[in-house]
């Protein structure tokens, strides 16, 4: 299958851990930006960026909330960089059962960085704007991606095949028939 190419803007926050001073301003302003009404309160526990801090060992790692995962990893990593040991989950962005990060403190629902998307849109996400040490910088780049319409077809087929493997085609057909009647 030859997919058509099209361009897409990728938004990136570049994290320079060497420049981070561990002040957690990013946590504060992230939670303030996402408060309703905007900036009406703040609470780092609701932030979609957290600084993994171990100042006595010189470790400051700003980490953005990524995907939610319902299960912990089985294997975990340890990193040693320039002689410093980093905690097994230090670089992981997941909202995951193994740790308290990236969960709404009231509901436990997962949090995910949305790059402060808003209308009108900001020049840069707020954490980047308020990071004076420049540990966080914002970059946009264009990348060529395959046309999503074609990918979608393929995605649906892969998904259905795996469901059929598990439940059998009859069950899938019945379910599709029942669910589509509701509309």
């Amino acid at each position: 299958m030859t997919a058509k190419k099209k361009t897409k803007i990728i938004k990136t926050i570049k994290v320079d851990v060497d420049l981070c001073n561990g002040c957690r301003t990013c946590e504060l302003i992230c939670s303030a930006f996402h408060a309703v009404p905007r900036y009406s309160s703040n609470n780092p526990e609701r932030s979609r960026i957290r600084v993994i801090r171990d100042p006595l060992r010189g470790v400051f790692i700003p980490v953005y909330a990524g995907q939610y995962t319902p299960a912990e990893c089985t294997g975990r990593d340890k990193y040693i960089i320039d002689g410093k040991e980093y905690d097994e989950c230090a670089f992981c962005r997941a909202s995951c059962p193994s740790r308290g990060l990236f969960k709404e403190p009231d509901s436990g629902l997962p949090l995910k960085c949305d790059m402060c998307e808003s209308d009108p849109s900001l020049a840069e996400p707020m954490c980047v704007q308020w990071c004076l040490p420049d540990a966080l910088t914002y970059e946009e780049r264009e990348v060529e991606v395959e046309d999503e319409a074609e990918n979608e077809q393929e995605d649906v087929e892969i998904g259905l095949e795996s469901l059929a493997d598990k439940y059998g085609w009859q069950k899938i057909l019945d379910t599709v028939a029942r669910m589509s009647k509701k509309d």
Partner: protein, 658 residues
Amino acid sequence: MRYAETGYNLEVDLSRGNVERVETDSDLAELYLGGLGTNAKILWERVPADVDPFSPENLLIFGTGLLCGTPAPSANRTIITSYSPQTKLMAFSMMGGFWAPELKYAGYDKLIIKGKSPKLVYLWIKDDKVEIRDASHLKGKGAVETSEIILKELDEPKAQVAAIGMAGENRVFFASIEQGRSSASRGGLGAVMGSKGLKAVVVRGSKDVNIANPEETIKLCSDVFDYIEYRERHPIKGVPPILAGIGSPQEMAVHDEQWHTTNFAWGNARVRRKDFWTPEVEKKWTFSMESVRERFVSCYNCPMKCGATINIPDLNPYMMKCYSKLTYTMASFTDLDAGLRMAQRGTEYGVDAFSAPQVMAFALELYEDGILTDKDFPGMPEDSEGRFNWLLDRIVRREGIGDILADGTYWAAQRIGKGAEKYAHNNIKKHEQLPLKLGMLNPIYFLMYCTGEKINITQIEGNFPQAPFPKREQREEFVKDWPQVPDEKFKKYFLDWEPRGENSIPHYPTIEATCEIVDWQERMHYIDDSTGMCSGLSAFPLKPPYHMHNLPKLISAITGFELDEEGLVKIARRNRTLVRAVNIRRGMRRGDEKPPEDHWKRRFPELEEKLLDAYYEFKGWNKEGIPKKETLEELSLDYVIEDFLQRGILADSEDEST
């Protein structure tokens, strides 16, 4: 809804093991802001004037500044208040770091400790859940060590810990409360904490702090960040590098120590070494610092990097800031390597890095002069670093001579006698001072030293240059871009201030101008101490991001109450006067308000009396330094009037003191 504040204090009675969450009066913030202001009010109301600092009746108040936990950059200070075992007056030492915002997020504006636990405990506050936990396994442990052990045993890496070391446990009068990269060091608050059997307070919070006018707040905070960046690009010209920037003095980053090492006194605050700083020393010290400085560290919501993690081979790492870099080195006549090692020990033991080295230098001077003898120092090593370590080990355990020295130079000298009083020469109100010995009396500093109730010069000075610039063109250049002045007249005072001649110290600035300059400098600190703002971005440096013109707007936007410059000046006066009232009730009078006798070689007794008279008058205090009735009335401190009349401190008809 309450804005900036949570509206609750956490009250813990360690004698009874009782914990209560108490709603506070919402009007208090408009009168006192928070932090120091409301701490002073609680101390005034609830701790009688004759209570001993170590009595269970004494309170130990951990107050957050009003703006802590809000987006206001650098508002992160915890103001700890109690009666000091050393000065016997009110102590209100403060610490930066992360503790105050965490307490706010846990839902409390203050933690108020009373009583005394029968055994050593620590307090674990996690939002609404508060536990008094056994700390017998932490007895004798270092302050940093304690914090590490607790975070591990609670499995709460994001909690914030304020802990005491062995010095606090053993009630050393200059024991500190240590917290990460920061500490509340002055006034012996660690000893009060130790007297209550409290080893540490651990906090973790996950609640919201609310803002009244969100958009306005964020805009004002962004302006502050912009100005910080501007100031970083525009250091002040014509002052030593340590005074050119903002933040607390950048001791961890700046290697040029000529100014400190040649202007400040070594040993027991006596010896000036004007030729000390050579290229060889600079090279060696630069290497020393760079080889152990692991990383720069900030406090909560602050872009500066005033602290650093120091990691010396074979010693546990610790965090350091500011002038503690040099205090051990200079008091012991050693070098930076030795000083950094001694500071590690001092941090774990939890002692004030101003007082502790000076106490030890004092002891060694008494030894050299035969007032203390060999039998006071059995087995003390010969070398200077060894001696300091030997002494500190005994001070924090109150063993032998250490027990006497643990009370600080003033009280130790009283106990030693035989003329030892003359060696405790660098105190104000019984508290060890920066080791500065200068030539000509400076009227501005004279008043600050005399009347400062934090009893620490760095905590009331700032904004106005410490010395005149040599050339008028330099001064013109400086005042051109000086929006921080509360009034244009300050520019003129500075422009006309000359290093020599008619317009120089001690007779210029004039008495009137001196009063105004001192009042401005001190006022900014009293505001910071109530908002929890770090004075490193506010009251202390030249041309700071926060000043009289933007602070009322910011406080107003965050809290929602109306506040203009006049209103903020009044609150600062109220808080300042209330602190004075607490101390007046503890017995402080004019006679206590004097700098160390040898601070300046050239003194002017007549001028000094005039200065003090004029400043008291300016502040609305009587000749004894007691706030006058009309001053107290104007500041709505009627409860102070009532108390002063009852005690006969003020008389009904006039303002004469007894």
